[in-house]
C-alpha cells in the first residue's frame, strides 16, 4: 500500500510542476513543449486510475495532436511577426 501511495504522490508532484512550468513560462515554445510532457504524465495518471481507454485517447489526442496543433500555429505566428517587423523596419527606414 505505501509504495502505491508514494508513486501516486510523486506523479501528482510531477504533474503540478509540469503544469506550472507550462502555464507560467515566458517563452511560448517552452510552454508548448512542457504541455506535451504534461499530457504524457497525465496519461500515466489515467492508467493509475484504471481508465485505460481514456489513457490511450489522452496520449494520442490530448498530448500528440494538441501539441502538433499548437506548434503549427506558433510557427505560423512567428512567420507573421517577422513579416510585420521587416515591413515596419522598411517603413521607418524610408522616413
Amino acid at each position: 500500500m505505501p509504495i502505491n501511495l508514494l508513486f501516486d504522490g510523486l506523479l501528482v508532484v510531477l504533474i503540478l510542476v509540469l503544469a506550472s512550468g507550462a502555464l507560467f513560462s515566458t517563452n511560448i515554445f517552452n510552454g508548448i513543449v512542457l504541455f506535451i510532457s504534461l499530457g504524457l504524465a497525465v496519461s500515466i495518471a489515467w492508467v493509475r486510475l484504471y481508465a485505460i481507454d481514456v489513457a490511450i485517447a489522452e496520449v494520442t489526442i490530448g498530448a500528440g495532436l494538441t501539441g502538433a496543433l499548437l506548434l503549427g500555429a506558433w510557427k505560423r505566428l512567428e512567420i507573421k511577426k517577422s513579416l510585420h517587423s521587416s515591413i515596419s523596419n522598411k517603413e521607418t527606414k524610408n522616413d
Partner: protein, 236 residues
C-alpha cells in the same frame, strides 16, 4: 502596463489579488471535497448486468455505443460541424502531388516503416475495442497521427474539398443513420439494436467513425498550419 521587453502585463497588485482570491476559493473547494461522502458504485453492477445483451464485452464501448448511443450520435454531429468550420481555412494553393518528397535519410526510413505499422495498429485498436480497451476514437487518432507524419515529411496532401473527402467527413453520421433505420425496421423502437446483431452493428458504426474522426482531426491540423513553404516567408 508595459514591462522591460515591451510586452503587456497586468499590474502586480492585480496579479496578487487574483492569485489570492483563487487560492482562497480553491482552499474552500478542497475542504468541501474532502468532506463529501464517497459516491456509491451502482453503475458498474448495472452495466455488468446487461452487458450480455449489448454484444460487446468492454463496458466503456458498451456504454458509448449501445447504452448511450444517442450521446455518441450527437458527438459525431458536433465533429461534423467542426469539420465544416475548419474547411475554409485550408490553403487553397495546395497541389495534388502525393509522393514523398523528402531526401533526408532517417526521416524517409522512419516514414516508410512507421506509416504501415500505424495503420495496422489502428485497425487492431478498432477491432479490439469490443473486448479490451480500445475503440473508434483511439484508432481514428492513430490514423490522424499517421497523416501528421506524412505532412511533416513533405508528402503532398490533396485538397480536402473534393467529393470523396466530404463523404469521409460525413461517413460516421450517414452510417449511424443507416443503423438507426435498420434497427427501427427490426424492433420498431428508436435506437434499440436487435440483440443478435448488436455486436456487428457496433463494429459497423465504429468502422465509419474511425475514418471520420481521423479525417476531421487531420483537417484541424492542416487548417491551423496553413502552408509553410521552404525558403519563402509566406504566412498562409
Amino acid at each position: 502596463m508595459i514591462d522591460a521587453h515591451g510586452a503587456t502585463v497586468l499590474k502586480s497588485s492585480y496579479v496578487l489579488l487574483i492569485a489570492l482570491t483563487i487560492s482562497v476559493l480553491t482552499g474552500g473547494v478542497i475542504f468541501a471535497l474532502l468532506q463529501t461522502p464517497a459516491p456509491q458504485n451502482i453503475m458498474y453492477d448495472l452495466v455488468q448486468a446487461n452487458i450480455q445483451q449489448s454484444g460487446v464485452t468492454n463496458p466503456v464501448t458498451a456504454v458509448l455505443l449501445n447504452f448511450r448511443a444517442y450521446d455518441t450520435f450527437l458527438e459525431f454531429a458536433v465533429f461534423f460541424c467542426v469539420s465544416i468550420a475548419s474547411l475554409p481555412y485550408l490553403d487553397p494553393s495546395v497541389s495534388d502531388a502525393s509522393h514523398l518528397e523528402t531526401k533526408d535519410g532517417p526521416l524517409f526510413s522512419l516514414v516508410k516503416v512507421l506509416v504501415p505499422l500505424t495503420i495496422l495498429l489502428a485497425g487492431y485498436t478498432l477491432w479490439v475495442g469490443s473486448f479490451k480497451p480500445g475503440g473508434a476514437f483511439q484508432a481514428g487518432a492513430l490514423l490522424a497521427g499517421c497523416g501528421l507524419l506524412l505532412t511533416l515529411s513533405n508528402a503532398g496532401v490533396t485538397k480536402m474539398t473534393g467529393f470523396w473527402w466530404r463523404s469521409i467527413f460525413s461517413m460516421s453520421l450517414i452510417f449511424f443513420i443507416l443503423v438507426i433505420g435498420f434497427s427501427y425496421l427490426n424492433t420498431h423502437t428508436f435506437l434499440m439494436y436487435p440483440t443478435t446483431l448488436s455486436g456487428s452493428l457496433i463494429l459497423f458504426i465504429e468502422f465509419a467513425a474511425t475514418f471520420s474522426v481521423a479525417a476531421t482531426l487531420y483537417l484541424c491540423y492542416l487548417s491551423v498550419r496553413g502552408r509553410v513553404v521552404q525558403g519563402s516567408h509566406r504566412a498562409g
